[in-house]
């Protein structure tokens, strides 16, 4: 009982922190606009509505939708991200094999720099979508991702020492009209030592 308690010094060596100036040039930069792998289809809309149990007739009843203010069927606006999702292979490459499809994108460069600086924990904190135009079956929704904001200094949160960043997704249709934009706020944190030890096993 409390025999071999290791007493650690209160003041550890100072941890290195990320220099905002070294990363500043990437803030505000966007990736190129990339084509999706699929176009918007009625079957994908139906699958989504089935899973969400969304009975809005605008998404499946052509007759109803034609008489509505939209003048035809539309896709659920909240479904926007599914039109530009990468392939399963790309996801496996990223999360299992650790190789990226587009390592030179500003967002990926920032991710790599944050990880290198020890911010290895990731937590999604907020997402906001603005719907500018309806998306319809047959549309081709392309997407670009940029980083619009990054904390200049460290935050001290319960997750540990951390930085926020806000990324922005912009979605365009085949006529190059912006249909939706989405901001996504992520907390990158340095997991405290006990968390790190837990994950190391």
């Amino acid at each position: 009982m409390g025999k071999d308690v290791e007493v650690k010094p209160f003041y550890g060596p100072p941890e290195e922190t990320l220099d905002y100036d070294s990363i500043k040039h990437l803030v505000g930069k966007f990736s190129p606009v990339r084509l999706p792998h699929d176009e918007v289809t009625e079957s994908d809309i139906r699958h989504w509505c089935e899973v969400m149990q969304d009975a809005n007739p605008l998404y499946y009843d052509t007759e109803y939708a034609r008489k509505s203010e939209y003048g035809g069927m539309i896709a659920p606006p909240a479904m926007v991200q599914s039109w530009s999702l990468g392939t399963m292979k790309a996801a496996l490459d990223q999360f299992v094999r650790g190789t990226l499809e587009h390592p030179q994108d500003p967002i990926n460069q920032v991710n790599a720099l944050l990880e290198k600086a020890g911010y290895t924990g990731v937590m999604a904190t907020a997402q906001e979508q603005t719907y500018l135009k309806p998306i319809r079956p047959g549309d081709v929704i392309s997407c670009q991702i940029g980083i619009v904001q990054l904390s200049e200094y460290d935050h001290f949160t319960r997750q540990g020492v951390s930085r926020y960043y806000t990324i922005m997704y912009r979605f365009f249709n085949q006529d190059e009209e912006e249909v939706t934009n989405m901001t996504f706020r992520v907390l990158w944190y340095k997991p405290p030592m006990n968390t790190r030890q837990l994950y190391k096993g």
Partner: protein, 171 residues
């Protein structure tokens, strides 16, 4: 409610009306399927869809009933009535036993299939399996495209069974 074979006997040999597939054959569904079985990952805009037909083994996908629908409907077709009679009698588990598929014509993107289901047979006695006791149901599917050409037929056998209760732990 107990299940008696006579309840479904009059349904054997009967075929349903033609039911439309919920969706048209679509590029995205083909790509998702190919991706899941690791066949191909080509983006849709790089494929010549006029020449490319849908994978034949995907045939059942086009006519699968929805998971959930805003308009619930009562079972009316012979095969649905058989399933309902078995469900009501407590044979609520289902497991596919075999499927024989025949592919007669290629299916292309944009085709809208429809299908008929025939109740080919229901086992006359309760069968005992490792899954539990149940009845074996044979169904015959006929899939046609919008021109009325038969594109594929399936002979499908499934077991509707009363799932065995897990053994209770002795205390």
């Amino acid at each position: 409610m107990a299940f008696e074979h006579s309840m479904v006997k009059k349904l054997v040999g009967k075929e349903s009306a033609a039911m439309p597939a919920p969706d048209k054959v679509s590029k995205s569904d083909i790509r998702h399927w190919c991706e899941a079985i690791d066949l191909d990952n080509t983006p849709f805009h790089k494929i010549n869809w006029k020449k490319k037909n849908a994978p034949p083994a995907m045939m059942m996908v086009w006519t699968m009933p929805p998971l959930w629908s805003p308009e619930a409907r009562e079972p009316t077709e012979p095969h649905e009535l058989v399933m309902k009679a078995l469900d009501d009698a407590g044979y609520d588990g289902a497991i596919g036993l075999s499927i024989d598929q025949e592919f007669l014509k290629p299916v292309y993107v944009g085709d809208r299939l429809s299908y008929k289901v025939k109740v080919a047979g229901v086992s006359s006695k309760e069968v005992t399996t490792k899954m539990g006791k149940g009845y074996q149901v044979d169904l015959g599917y006929t899939l046609s495209n919008q021109k009325g050409e038969v594109v594929s037929t399936h002979d499908y056998t499934l077991l509707k069974f009363k799932a065995l209760k897990p053994p209770t732990k002795a205390r």
